[in-house]
């Protein structure tokens, strides 16, 4: 398949089930909400070593938050509900509780409840107060700027992690331009995050390594550095730079939609913009139950 000079590989991205939640962080103004959200979703690019994958989903206008203040929705994904609960407690405790004027609420109502303010309340040293408002329990923890308000629990739902696109480009400028355009398009969609820095990962990985201790290592088949050296490469000599975008979403449809708009953004740049091919990472279909076939996604596209 060739669109605007960009070859779409006949392959699929392979994604796997994760546990996910959404938190809504509000603050006195959007700046402080963003400070808390950025800190809470920091060092959360990959479950390989971060414990979770997290990112900012969107800004929420004051009229849509529970307390009428500006807010930010963040999504957090983990491989198990237990690990997710641990990450929520640590990240909210260290990055939201600590951030001036913030409050934190569950962004999802339906699902298994895990602690949000439930354990953080003990920071109040006995002065914390519980309030039931409209059937939801909140904790009011006295802090030096007044009160930290946190909903007792947030709901955990099943999510989809590891949706991805590989953007194969002529050079670094073209690869970055395509990746930036794709991430910008994906960020407009709800229910997805791109957890890597700027939404883009340059160190795409394969499963396993020559070193037994390592579970993942460089994706040599897509390394322009190794063309001619490795026994099997996916690249040709005109492809000098490859970027990957990883997408976590609340549902399979959300991830698929994000991949589609990302591809459309890359195709809009086209071969003239230096984007040569779009591919995707999979493990032969053995790892995850969710397969996103690029050709099928493009079949539903207007581009």
């Amino acid at each position: 398949m060739n669109r605007n000079g960009v070859v779409i590989d006949e392959t699929f991205a392979e994604a796997f089930p994760m546990k996910a939640t959404r938190l809504v962080i509000t603050a006195h103004n959007i700046e402080w909400a963003r400070h808390a959200a950025v800190a809470a979703t920091g060092f959360a690019t990959s479950v390989i070593a971060c414990g979770c994958e997290a990112g900012i989903e969107r800004e929420i206008p004051p009229g849509e938050t529970p307390d009428g203040r500006p807010g930010i929705a963040v999504l957090i994904f983990s491989m198990s509900g237990k690990e997710l609960a641990k990450q929520i407690e640590r990240r909210v405790g260290q990055c939201v509780l600590t951030c001036p004027t913030t409050a934190v609420y569950a962004g999802i109502d339906e699902g298994e409840a895990v602690a949000l303010g439930k354990n953080l309340r003990f920071f109040g040293d006995g002065w914390q107060i519980s309030k039931m408002i409209a059937g939801k329990r909140y904790w009011r923890v006295p802090v030096m700027d007044g009160e930290f308000v946190a909903q007792e629990t947030t709901a955990v739902v099943k999510g989809v992690g590891g949706g991805n696109l590989l953007l194969l480009a002529r050079d670094t400028d073209a690869a970055l331009a395509a990746a930036e355009a794709a991430v910008a398009a994906m960020k407009k969609l709800p229910n997805v995050i791109m957890p890597f820095p700027g939404g883009v990962v340059r160190s795409g990985s394969k499963v396993g390594s020559k070193y037994p201790a390592l579970g993942a290592s460089t994706n040599d088949a897509f390394c322009p550095t190794l063309v001619g050296l490795v026994p099997k490469t996916e690249l040709t000599s005109e492809t000098r730079c490859v970027m990957e975008i990883v997408i976590d979403g609340l549902t399979e449809a959300d991830v698929g939609a994000a991949m589609r708009v990302g591809m459309e953004a890359g195709i809009a740049l086209g071969a003239a913009g230096g984007l040569l091919r779009i591919s995707a990472g999979n493990y032969g279909g053995k790892l995850g139950p969710f397969h996103f076939h690029l050709h099928k996604l493009m079949a539903g596209s207007a581009a």
């Binding site: 529970p66 009428g68 107060i129 408002i133």
Partner: protein
């Protein structure tokens, strides 16, 4: 499920005990069976038909019509369905209510909604003393659900209240929220003396005139704007003075420190 209309034939000579006459309990019965149900009258048990005319309804509602100001324990420990009292109710209306909805279109006696744990109880008129409070000898008062009083309330409103929301659109008597453990009380009218006497936690919102504040309360230095927005937005749908709470500022008084309390009287500006 089928509902019934129970029309009181005439005011009972003695107090009636109407516990057990709930929508769920009557749902599977025929009109004849309902007529044979026993209710308390003074210290005797009499068939319900002695005081009520029973009619089946097309909906699921249980409607009690007529003057029931001597009808006690209406909706006692009710756990579902809809019960309407088209007139006045006696003492203990909605006491121990767990789920469902009770509407009283007239006044109610003492101890309305005491130890209520869930559901909604609306009383268009006024209630007597000890509404939303505790049964004598019990530790916890109202512990869930929503009580809405359209008129005035007597003394000791919300005594030992532990959870839930209780709203009064009129005035309340003395010792509002006495020994309150937690929960929310919102008042549109005036409060009598000693509001919050011995309260430990909980929030009492004064949407109308400010009450006299006991010297055992301390003014709050810090604001609680986030919590106030959450609470005010929850109260707003009840209308009246409560509708505009979110746009109004508050002063808080904390206490009752004489009881080691961390409760708050919220005085809306």
């Amino acid at each position: 499920m089928s509902g019934f209309t129970l029309k009181a034939r005439a005011p009972a000579p003695l107090r009636l005990d109407l516990r057990g006459i709930t929508p769920v309990a009557l749902a599977t019965l025929s009109a004849a069976e309902v007529e044979r149900l026993e209710i308390g009258h003074g210290n005797a048990l009499v068939p319900l038909a002695e005081f009520f005319q029973v009619e089946s309804r097309s909906d699921d509602t249980l409607l009690l019509a007529g003057d029931l100001s001597r009808g006690d324990r209406i909706g006692w420990q009710m756990d579902g369905g809809t019960l309407i009292v088209d007139g006045a109710a006696g003492d203990y209306v909605g006491a121990g209510l767990r789920a469902g909805e009770i509407t009283v279109k007239g006044d109610a006696g003492a101890l309305a909604a005491c130890e209520m744990a869930g559901g909604t109880l609306r009383i268009s008129g006024s209630v007597g003393d000890f509404a939303a409070s505790t049964l004598p000898g019990s530790m916890d008062g109202m512990r869930g659900g929503t009580l809405i009083v359209g008129g005035n309330a007597g003394a000791r409103f919300g005594d030992r209240m532990r959870r839930g929301s209780a709203l009064v659109f009129g005035d309340v008597g003395d010792f509002l929220a006495s020994r309150m453990v937690a929960g929310t009380i919102a008042l549109a009218g005036r409060a009598g003396a000693h509001a919050g006497y011995g309260m430990r936690r909980g929030s009492v919102v004064f949407a109308g005139p400010a009450p006299g504040v006991s010297p055992t309360f301390v003014p709050a230095v810090a604001g609680a704007p986030v919590f106030w927005q959450l609470l005010a937005r929850d109260l707003a749908p009840h209308g009246g003075l409560f509708a505009t709470l979110a746009s109004r500022g508050i002063d808080r008084q904390l206490g009752d420190v004489a009881a080691g309390g961390k409760g708050e009287l919220i005085l809306v500006r």
